[in-house]
Symmetry: C2
């Protein structure tokens, strides 16, 4: 196993060491307030008796699993609460490979950089499959790539980095392909609360025994540091996912799970609508400035990111550094996300200075 | 990969469903108060700005890693903060196997049940090696078992379940054997604060580049549910351990890490001395009652547990259930811990009802 240093480390270090004022549009950390009920519950937890400070059930607090199951319309036994969505994805991928059903994973290009790393950690082989022009799902490309060696197909919708939301009929086609080659389909829906189209549909609605859906509260509650995610596994795979979770992590963090449980029960839908509206405003402001800068981009349908391409300024690591030094804006080089968008730069819209960053880019490319 | 349901699940379910009053001596959850500074810090954290609710550095909060490094006398770069000691052990074992230095793990018998499960998860083969009569380390037995296939030797001191504390010279002999066969030595020291002899020495004092030491705050601060552990890796292995940690879990829980950081800085040594004294009292009371019951046992030198054998009453699952139903005391069957102590029963002394449990056992076996 050869490990690579993630590229965003490098960009963040470079931006942090820069002389001037740099607007950080690298990482996907929400910059807004978590739900008030979450803060209140954590404060309350701090005063509870010591038995509540001990291991939660390995699969997660019962009340939290029931709340998730009810919201997602699934049986509670299928829900495994994990140390963030990242661990849920790891468990899902592991389950796909340990079935002796091949060692290939089909990942969509552009790709979230952790996916190929996780696949390789688990002894699998990642194959990048093209998406359509705007990052949308292309079932024909997946059909062409799939074979008996395919154990796993991984989708992420709303998508990081393209902002695409996959059509549920196209997801269904992918599940049918998985059925033919005995693969599992992992659908990472961690950005589902940031659907800007109102048309997102969860892959759970397909009711397929080949689909594992992962999600978490990191983005929707603005608490990436709390580490509360979950996987909804088909009946045939949930025992193994729970067993691996226990062997790797024993359990997830109880203070975090307690706080999220209360926040889920007590937070008004308005809270989620407001962060979505905030993001939509930022998308407008940022894409207006990209228009002014003469950049090419796809307007995101969801999630936190905009991929942009500037004429004569390919999104290499070198140019990303120039942008940090000369424009005071830090993005991510497109080749961190596979091969399809090597010329592009990804900007995360999770900074209150999104408009300022957009103006800096417009000014810089207008010169 | 075939997963097994852990035996303690089964015992706890059985005890929970029993009609009468049952004293739980199954799990290793401390029953005493966490440090006051930990509660206070968690309360304070609940009111911090949203940026402090986002991802901590993947390897752990810098201040926490520095405090650990200072206490352990190692370079801070070697410290990886994990989702509990359980994850630290997983990372250490993974590192041993991914070096292409064999696929065998030597584990000591009796064995902490998660170790063989983790080894198998990672594609390794566990081999159980006998300990001496009281559970002490027997380097000759390890020498006999070690071969070119050996990638990992795992030690746990103070030991769960035997209570043995390994002589540091014997640990050194094991490291020398590891050197001969190119193995890594994982030393799990999570019970180091519960050294009842005053003679425990950490394997870090050996300064070996083959030794990975794991530890955590679950037991010492009575917070098994917080999930804050760590590994101290040799320079040659720490990059890979951090990379796997990031790929599996992204990061550990920040509220928990924040609380532990403050508790470490602000907790008087007296806190730790008091929980140790409490445990020593319970050992006295419990072993007195075992004497009264005519049981055989090894007096623990450290950790939370007593292994006992009752004449004509081998520690099978069936007899453990009888003890729940007829004496109102729940322990763990010895065969959950490998092959060496199949006739014994493990009792965890982390209940305020330890004396009462001891009296129940004495009465039951006196009949």
């Amino acid at each position: 196993m050869e490990y690579e240093e993630p590229k965003f480390f490098h960009v963040m270090q470079y931006a942090g060491a820069a002389d001037g004022d740099v607007i950080d549009m690298v990482s996907g950390n929400p910059d807004w307030e978590p739900p008030g009920a979450l803060r209140e519950a954590l404060r309350e937890y701090a005063g509870l008796p010591p038995d509540v400070f001990q291991y939660p059930p390995s699969e997660g607090l019962r009340e939290l699993r029931e709340a998730i199951a009810e919201r997602r319309g699934v049986d509670v036994d299928r829900v495994v609460v994990t140390n963030g969505t990242g661990e849920a994805n790891y468990l899902a991928m592991a389950r796909a490979f340990e079935r002796d059903a091949g060692d290939e994973a089909l990942l969509l290009d552009p790709v979230y950089p952790y996916y190929p790393g996780k696949v390789q950690l688990l002894g699998g082989k990642p194959t990048l499959v093209p998406t359509d022009r705007d990052g949308g799902l292309d079932p024909d490309a997946i059909r062409e790539a799939a074979s008996e060696e395919t154990a796993l197909i991984t989708l992420n919708t709303p998508n990081n980095p393209t902002g695409a939301i996959y059509d549920i009929d196209a997801v269904w086609e992918v599940v049918a392909i998985a059925d033919e080659v005995d693969a599992l389909v992992l659908v990472d829906e961690v950005y589902d609360h940031f659907d800007l189209t109102g048309e997102f549909e969860s892959a759970l609605t397909l009711g397929s025994d080949r689909v594992i859906v992962t999600n978490g509260f990191s983005k929707s509650m603005a608490i990436t540091g709390f580490r509360v995610g979950y996987g909804v596994f088909p009946d045939d795979h949930v025992f193994e996912a729970k067993a691996r979770h226990m062997l790797v992590n024993v359990a997830g963090p109880r203070p975090s799970q307690y706080a999220v449980t209360h926040a889920l029960a007590e937070t008004d839908p308005e809270y989620f609508a407001e962060s979505r509206a905030l993001l939509a405003e930022r998308v407008d402001a940022f894409t207006d400035a990209l228009d002014a800068a003469g950049a090419e981009y796809s307007r995101p349908e969801g999630a936190f990111y905009v991929l942009a391409r500037f004429d004569g300024f390919p999104g290499t690591m070198e140019n990303v550094k120039r942008l940090i030094d000369e424009a005071g804006v830090a993005g991510m080089p497109g080749d961190a996300f596979g091969t399809a968008r090597g010329d592009w730069i990804r900007f995360a819209l999770v900074t209150p200075r999104t408009v300022e960053a957009a103006e800096r880019l417009a000014d810089y490319f207008d010169e």
